[in-house]
Amino acid sequence: MTVANTIEGAGIASRRTGFVPVLRSVLADPWATAGAVVIIVFVAAAVLAAPLTGITGQNPYTYHLDLLDDSGAPLGFGGGISGAHWFGVEPLTGRDLFSIVVYGARISLLVGVSATVLSVLIGVLVGVTTGFFGGWYDRVASRVVDVMFGFPVLVFMIALTAIVPTAFPKPLFMILVIGLFGWPSISRVVRGQVLSLRERAFVTASTAMGAGGWRVAFTQVLPNVSATIIVYTTIMVPSMIGFEAALSFLGVGVPPPTPSWGRTIGEAVGWVQISPMYLVFPGVALFLITLAFNVLGDGLRDALDPKGARR
């Protein structure tokens, strides 16, 4: 026993498991913590949009034509920044920019997170099952993934927006479209991991003990790809948010008057020399939330990845 106790198993990567150690490790990383805080702030702002904009009695829809000059440009400093309009107002309409940014967070997060969840669900299901069961099912599914990869997604999405009936809610449409096109990458990653996990002895052991295929796939294999899934999810959210913003920027996203960062940025472009703050506020918001998710994703990867010691 004495000897055995001194042995650290050869070749085993020490893997931190469980929620608390991961949390502790994330919290130990100031960057990841900052990212998490920013995300929490944005989520809170999105959820509490109404009371938050209620502080100054604003909403993102009401016109304030009195704050605009004759040609539609905001009056006053920084695009009309004042006690009532913290970020100034929108040109041509005089709507409160702070409210637009805060409510814009709603759409961005809603679309970003929902589309990610959809993608991850499909991707994980397909990835785990194809990797684990293999055979003709895997071959067909892999072809489908090929097809999905072959699709110029942005191109197709732009094209699709032209044909969706106007009665169909646009945010839901965007979630579906972004989500349904987003899964192949995660499915490939998961499949790759499952393929190697499938060869691991504990999986064979579980089968040898008489566990059924699905049971093995979901109780033995899935928990081992969970780290990958979590990291991937965190990194996918910002890219989905970016997708939504890009579509809105290109003019095929969420329709007005629903506030959206991407659309506001697209509109602000023309005004940038007259009212630069109109571009700055939504731009910074979009950048910050994306950055926060990426930084947190990095932190999580470090915390969860057995090969993690990257710093």
Partner: protein, 563 residues
């Protein structure tokens, strides 16, 4: 052969190595006060359990430790200090004066280049400018020296296209390419089959003698030490516990640890223990009956050629008996093991376990059969789900096949942990919090949870240190005596098989070439292959090993002329 008092080529004194630790603030000392001398034409073996600091010590000679390591003390090569030497000087030494052979030949070669390219690179690194043709010639010459036969094909191959033995020979060719005075061999044969190992050891010995190289051999295998070493340094937890010439060490080990180490080595020539506990014959109903079974991989797929992993295997295992399966890597041992658990289908023939023919069994029947099978794998690192606790792992079969409540399950887990001599508190631990030996005990506990009638053990100890291996084997034997299960015990180590198995079958290229009662077969092998296999396995006794070596040379020579 040694002529008078010679100067050591390389001399290490009071070497201390510490790693900067990222978690703890202070540096962690892993080697402390190690010293040794290397003489031309002599082999110094550095032995000790895993993690004792052997590799680190060897790498410090070449300055190949990561930047987080701090080396103090003195390492002199032909009088020149290497510790703290400038990078340029170290580079001249590496591959020039000191050649190196690593443990894993497959990963030690860069996968994307041909062997020729990599050898040529080593040559140009020191030998100055040479023409293409000269390089070509020299590479082939070196490969031939390293005992490679189809030199041209090997030279043009990428690492993945070669066998471990070929790669290790190529590695040796590379190591001697700069005509080194010192050869460092870090576990040069651990990843290889015994038969291949014997050849490699032979090669190192020959080269050491011919070129008057000083060899620093790192190994944990006492058989290898006995075979090759002139002097031995035993290390434990970073410190030297004993230093002696090989003969003395084996004959009269001084340190308690050395004695413990030697005692743990299973011996082919040990007095027969298995025989004593042999149960009376005439068991009517075999647990396993395999008849003319052939197993083919890759059937039906149109992309690759099918591989016939097992051909016409026939054997039976009676209750309470251990059936040992030995053979080279790739000979089909694991495949047969898998077939018994119904994890692979037989192409022809039949596999009957517990009276059920697995080929025709329904799902229900298969489940019932599996209920009665325990499985233990070679690699303790991968046989437990890293995401589940030990308790969960052991309870898994209970959850699958019994209707015990959580309370009862917990109780049973504690019972099982006790049976494999682990504290019941271990149930809460995760696999990575356990040592290799402990993990293997957990795997065994899981395998016996449902009182199996058959336990399949696929190289359960080959990843473990000898001392740990001894403990696990003892546990295995005890449990079998207690629970009376039949067992298929797969191993490439003949001595281990001899220690635990009642019957043995020897496999070669998918065929069982010889089978019979363990003692008889291992003592009087009939088939030349079995004999070669037996002769190739080194024993931990320099004198005995010298005799065996001669015998092996004979047999190998025969095989070569026959081939």
């Amino acid at each position: 052969m040694t002529i008078g008092p010679v100067e050591p080529v390389l001399s290490a004194k009071a070497v201390q190595i510490a790693f900067a630790d990222s978690t703890a603030g202070a540096a962690r000392t892993v080697v402390d006060g190690v010293g040794f001398d290397l003489y031309p034409g002599r082999v110094l073996a550095l032995v000790g359990e895993s993690g004792s600091g052997k590799s680190v010590t060897a790498m410090s000679v070449l300055g190949l430790l990561p930047p987080t390591a701090r080396v103090t003390g003195s390492i002199r090569l032909r009088g020149q200090e290497l510790v703290g030497a400038p990078a340029g000087r170290l580079r001249e030494v590496r591959g020039g004066v000191v050649g190196t052979i690593f443990q894993e030949p497959m990963s030690a070669f860069d996968p994307v280049y041909t062997i020729e390219w990599q050898l040529a690179e080593a040559l140009t690194a020191h030998g100055g400018r040479r023409s293409r043709a000269q390089l070509r010639r020299r590479v082939r010459e070196l490969l031939r020296t390293a005992g490679i036969r189809d030199v041209d094909r090997v030279a043009a191959s990428h690492p993945h296209e070669l066998s471990g033995g070929q790669l290790q020979r190529a590695m040796i060719a590379m190591a001697i390419s700069g005509d080194p005075a010192v050869l460092i061999a870090d576990e040069p044969t651990t990843a290889l089959d015994v038969t291949v190992q014997a050849g490699i050891l032979e090669l190192i010995r020959r080269l050491g003698n011919e070129r008057q190289m000083a060899v620093l051999l790192i190994t944990h295998d006492m058989g290898v030490v006995a075979d090759l070493a002139d002097d031995v340094v035993v290390m434990r937890q970073g410190a030297v516990v004993e230093r002696a010439d090989a003969r003395t060490l084996f004959a009269r080990p001084q340190a308690a640890y050395t004695r413990e180490l030697l005692a743990a080595v299973p011996r082919l020539d040990a007095p027969d223990a298995a025989d004593a506990r042999r149960a009376a014959d005439a068991a009517p109903e075999p647990v396993v009956a395999v008849r003319d079974a052939s197993i083919v991989y890759g059937r039906g797929g149109w992309a690759r050629r099918p591989v016939r992993a097992v051909a016409d295997a026939t054997f039976r295992i009676d209750p309470g008996r251990t059936f040992g399966l030995v053979g080279e890597s790739g000979s089909g041992k694991s495949t047969l093991g898998r077939a018994l658990a119904g994890l692979v289908d037989v192409a022809t023939g039949s596999v009957v376990v517990g009276g059920v023919d697995l080929a025709t069994a329904s799902r229900r029947e298969l489940r019932r059969v599996r209920r009665g099978i325990g499985y233990v794998f070679q690699d303790p690192a991968s046989s437990l789900n890293p995401r589940g606790t030990v308790g969960r792992a052991i309870a898994e079969p209970l959850r699958l096949h019994s209707d015990l409540g959580p309370q009862q399950r917990r109780a049973r887990v504690a019972e099982l942990l006790d049976a494999v001599a682990l504290p019941s508190a271990f149930a809460q631990r995760y696999p990575h919090e356990l040592s290799g030996g402990q993990r293997q005990r957990v795997a065994i506990a899981r395998a016996i949870a449902l009182h199996p009638v058959l336990l399949i053990a696929d190289e359960p100890t080959s990843a473990l240190d000898v001392s740990v291996q001894a403990q696990v084997l003892r546990l295995f034997v005890d449990l079998q005596r207690e629970l009376g299960f039949a067992s298929l015990f797969i191993s490439h180590d003949l001595a281990v098989v001899r220690e635990v198995a009642h019957d043995v079958a020897v496999m070669q290229a998918g065929r069982i070439v010889e089978a019979g009662p363990a003692r008889q077969l291992l003592a009087h092998p009939v088939q030349p292959y079995t004999r070669r296999l037996l002769a190739a396995a080194p024993v931990a006794d320099p004198d005995a090993q010298q005799v065996r070596r001669e015998a092996w040379r004979q047999l190998a020579g025969d095989a070569e002329t026959a081939a």
